[in-house]
C-alpha cells in the first residue's frame, strides 16, 4: 500500500466552454479524512468524479495506489462513491443493495452473506435488512448508501455531499458517526461539502476550493488560523477585514495603519513597504471594552459605537460602528459571574485584540 493513495498531477477539466477545473495537483494520503470544501461550481464534485472515473480529465494524470489509472473505467479503480441523492436501488432490499457490488464481482454466496451481515452490524441496520429504501428514514438511507460502498472494501471512499439532504440535528449526529466509521474502517475518505463547519469538524485535512482551483490545503486549524489568502479567510468562518497599506517593513516587523492608528506587527509573510494588504481579525479574537473599563485609552484601541447586540445563548455578537464608519463584528463569550455583556445600543466602546492574533494578507 502506498502512503499516497491518490495523486492528481496537472489535472484539468472543461465542460464545453466552461472551465470546471484549472490545472491542479493534489495528493491524498492513505487513511486520511480529506474534505474538498467550496461553494457550488468551484470544481469540488468534478475532482471527485475524476478520481472515481465517472469523468475523464482533459489533461494530466491520476494515480491510485501508485498506478496510473487515468484511462481506467470506474469499475477497475477499487474506489466507491456515496452519492448526494444516495442513489439506492429502489426495487431492491437493503441487503440486496449492499450485496450488489459483491455480486457484480462474482464473490461466493456465503462470503457475500458474511460481509453484508458484518457491515450491517457496523452501521446498525441488521434489523432492517429486508426493508426497501422507501421504508427507511433519511439517516438510515444514508447509512445504507455508505454500507453499500464500504462493503466492497474500497481503497478510497468518495462522498459527494452525503449529508446535505438531512436536517440539522441528524446531520450533526451523522457527522460524528461518519468520523467514527472512518476511524474504525481505516479507509481513506474524500468528502465533498460546501458546509465549512462540517469540513472543519470532521476532516484531517481540508482543501479549500474556488473557481476551479485549490486555494489552500491544510489541517482545519491551519486554514482557520493561518488562511493562505483573503478568499480562504473570508470563506472559512467570519472575519473583519481592514484594507490598508504597509507603511514600513523589515524582516521582523511591518508597520500598518488601521483606522488611522499605527500598528507594528510581526512580518510573517515577508511583506514589503507600500504593499497593499488586508489586516484580518476574527470576531472572537476582538475584545470590546466599555467606557468605565478603560482607564487610560491605550494606543491600540479603536473607538466605536455599539450598533446592534445579537444574543445567541452562550455568546453575544456585537456589531460595532467604528469612527471611520466601518462596521465590524465582535463575539463575546458569557462568563457566569460576569455581567458586563449587558451592552446598550449606541454605547461608546473600545475595541482591541492581542497582537499576533491578526492575520495580514496580501491583496
Amino acid at each position: 500500500m502506498y502512503t499516497n493513495i491518490v495523486e492528481l498531477k496537472g489535472v484539468s477539466k472543461c465542460f464545453g466552454d466552461y472551465k470546471a477545473l484549472e490545472t491542479i495537483d493534489l495528493t491524498i494520503q492513505n487513511g486520511e479524512f480529506i474534505t474538498l470544501l467550496g461553494p457550488s461550481g468551484c470544481g469540488k464534485t468534478t475532482i471527485l468524479r475524476l478520481i472515481s472515473g465517472l469523468e475523464k480529465p482533459d489533461t494530466g494524470h491520476i494515480f491510485i495506489n501508485g498506478q496510473d489509472v487515468t484511462d481506467w473505467p470506474p469499475e477497475h479503480r477499487h474506489l466507491n462513491m456515496v452519492f448526494q441523492s444516495y442513489a439506492l436501488f429502489p426495487h431492491m432490499t437493503v441487503f440486496e443493495n449492499i450485496a450488489f457490488g459483491l455480486r457484480c464481482r462474482k464473490i461466493a454466496k456465503n462470503e457475500i452473506v458474511e460481509r453484508v451481515e458484518e457491515i450491517l452490524r457496523i452501521v446498525k441496520l441488521t434489523k432492517l435488512a429486508q426493508r426497501k429504501p422507501d421504508q427507511l428514514s433519511g439517516g438510515q438511507q444514508q447509512r445504507v448508501a455508505i454500507a453499500r460502498a464500504v462493503v466492497n472494501r474500497p481503497l478510497v471512499l468518495l462522498l459527494d455531499e452525503p449529508l446535505s439532504a438531512l436536517d440539522y440535528n441528524l446531520r450533526k449526529d451523522m457527522q460524528v458517526e461518519l468520523k467514527q466509521l472512518q476511524r474504525k474502517l481505516g479507509v481513506t475518505f474524500v468528502f465533498v461539502t460546501h458546509d465549512q463547519e462540517e469540513a472543519l469538524s470532521m476532516s484531517d485535512r481540508v482543501a479549500v476550493m474556488n473557481e476551479g482551483h485549490i486555494e489552500q490545503l491544510g489541517t482545519p486549524r491551519d486554514v482557520y488560523e493561518e488562511p493562505a489568502n483573503l478568499y480562504v479567510a473570508e470563506f472559512i468562518g467570519e472575519t473583519n477585514v481592514f484594507e490598508t497599506k504597509v507603511i514600513r517593513s523589515d524582516k521582523q516587523t511591518v508597520e500598518v495603519k488601521v483606522e488611522d492608528k499605527r500598528f507594528t506587527f510581526k512580518n510573517k509573510r515577508g511583506l514589503k513597504t507600500r504593499q497593499e494588504v488586508c489586516v484580518t481579525v476574527r470576531p472572537e479574537d476582538l475584545a470590546v471594552w466599555r467606557q468605565e473599563e478603560v482607564g487610560e485609552v491605550s494606543d491600540d484601541m479603536l473607538p466605536g459605537k455599539v450598533e446592534q447586540v445579537i444574543y445567541k445563548g452562550s455568546i453575544v455578537e456585537l456589531v460595532v460602528r467604528l469612527e471611520s464608519n466601518k462596521r465590524i463584528y465582535a463575539t463575546e463569550f458569557f462568563n457566569e459571574d460576569d455581567e458586563k455583556l449587558d451592552y446598550q445600543i449606541g454605547e461608546r466602546v473600545w475595541v482591541n485584540w492581542i497582537p499576533g492574533w491578526e492575520v495580514i494578507l496580501p491583496v
Binding site: F15, G16, Y18, R49, G53, L54, E55, K56, P73, P74
Partner: protein, 301 residues
C-alpha cells in the same frame, strides 16, 4: 454542462463507452428502423419516378409523368377536395378541441387524470369501429333518424349518410382526440400566473387569449394539426363507409392505384405528395417548438 444534460452526463454519455451491449442495442434499433422505416420510404420515392406496367407492375423507366399527372383536372380535383375536407376537419377539431382542452387542463387536479383518460380511450380505440359507430348513428334507419322521427321533429328520415357532411362528421369524430391530447399537453404546462399577469396588466379576456395564450400554445396547435390534417386526407375507409363512392379523397386514390388500378408508381407519387406535406408541417412544428418541447408528442402516452 450544456450538451451533457440531454442524457446521463460523464461516463455514460460524454465518454467513449463501447461496450458490446451498447453496440448490440444500437445495431438492433438502427437495423430495424433502417430496413422497415427508411428503406420503404426510399422505395416509394424511387417507385414514384418509374413507369407502370400491366404485366410486371413496375418497369425501370424513369419518368416524371406520375407527378405531372397529378395536375390533371381529375387528380387536381381530388387533391383540392382532400385539402378542403382536411382543412375544414382540422379547423372544426381545433374550434371544438381548444376550449375543451383548456377547460380540462384547468380543472381540479384530482379530476384531471380521469377526464384525460376519457379522451385517451377513444384516442387508442380503432377509428374503424368508431367510424362504424357514426355510421350506425346517422344511417337512414339509424338511431338519429329514429329518435328525431319519434319525437316528431322530422317527418322523413334525413339522408345524412353518404354525403359530404357525413364524411366531415366522421373525420371530426375520429380525429378529435388527436387534436385534444397535444393541446392539453401544451396548455397544462402554461403557467396560470401568466394569464393573471396579463389580465393584471389590463389585458381583457380576449386580448389575453390572442396575445398570450395562443402564441404560447402554438406548438400544441401545430402538433394537433399535424395529427389531424394528414389522416383526414388519407383515412380511406371514412369516405368509403360514410360517403359512398362519391367523396373520393387522396387516401382512396392511393388505395385505388395500388389495389385496383395497379398503377403503383402513381400511388407512390401521391404518397410522396402527402409525405412532402407532412415534412413541411413537421418543419413548421420544429421551428415553433422550443428545443426542449421537440419530443412533445411523448405526452400523448
Amino acid at each position: 454542462m450544456g450538451e451533457l444534460d440531454s442524457g446521463v452526463g460523464g461516463y455514460f454519455a460524454g465518454m467513449k463507452n463501447n461496450s458490446s451491449f451498447k453496440k448490440i442495442c444500437v445495431t438492433v434499433v438502427w437495423s430495424w428502423l433502417f430496413i422497415f422505416a427508411m428503406v420503404p420510404v426510399l422505395l416509394t420515392l424511387i417507385t414514384s419516378f418509374l413507369t407502370a406496367d400491366s404485366s410486371s407492375l413496375v418497369v425501370f423507366k424513369p419518368t416524371l409523368q406520375n407527378y405531372t399527372q397529378l395536375f390533371n383536372s381529375a387528380y387536381l380535383k381530388i387533391l383540392l377536395q382532400s385539402l378542403y375536407l382536411a382543412t375544414s376537419c382540422t379547423l372544426l377539431c381545433l374550434i371544438i378541441g381548444y376550449p375543451f382542452a383548456f377547460t380540462i387542463a384547468r380543472s381540479k387536479s384530482r379530476h384531471r387524470a380521469l377526464l384525460l383518460l376519457l379522451v385517451m380511450i377513444p384516442f387508442w380505440t380503432s377509428s374503424l369501429i368508431r367510424t362504424y359507430a357514426i355510421m350506425a348513428l346517422i344511417k337512414a334507419k339509424g338511431i338519429l333518424n329514429t329518435v328525431l322521427l319519434a319525437i316528431g321533429l322530422i317527418h322523413h328520415p334525413l339522408s345524412i349518410l353518404y354525403s359530404y357532411s357525413a364524411v366531415l362528421l366522421g373525420c371530426v369524430y375520429d380525429l378529435l382526440p388527436f387534436m385534444i391530447l397535444p393541446l392539453y399537453g401544451n396548455i397544462e404546462k402554461l403557467n396560470p400566473d401568466l394569464l393573471e399577469a396579463a389580465q393584471d396588466l389590463g389585458a381583457g379576456k380576449i386580448r389575453t387569449m390572442v396575445k398570450v395564450v395562443f402564441p404560447l400554445t402554438m406548438p400544441g396547435i401545430i402538433a394537433g394539426t399535424l395529427l389531424v390534417f394528414l389522416p383526414a386526407m388519407t383515412m380511406f375507409y371514412i369516405p368509403v363507409l360514410l360517403g359512398g363512392a362519391k367523396n373520393l379523397l387522396l387516401g382512396n386514390l392511393i388505395e385505388n392505384q395500388f389495389l385496383s388500378a395497379n398503377n403503383w408508381p402513381m400511388g407512390a407519387a401521391i404518397s410522396m405528395l402527402i409525405t412532402v406535406f407532412m415534412g413541411a408541417m413537421i418543419l413548421l412544428y420544429w421551428r415553433n417548438a422550443q428545443s426542449k418541447d421537440k419530443q412533445n408528442l411523448q405526452e400523448l402516452v
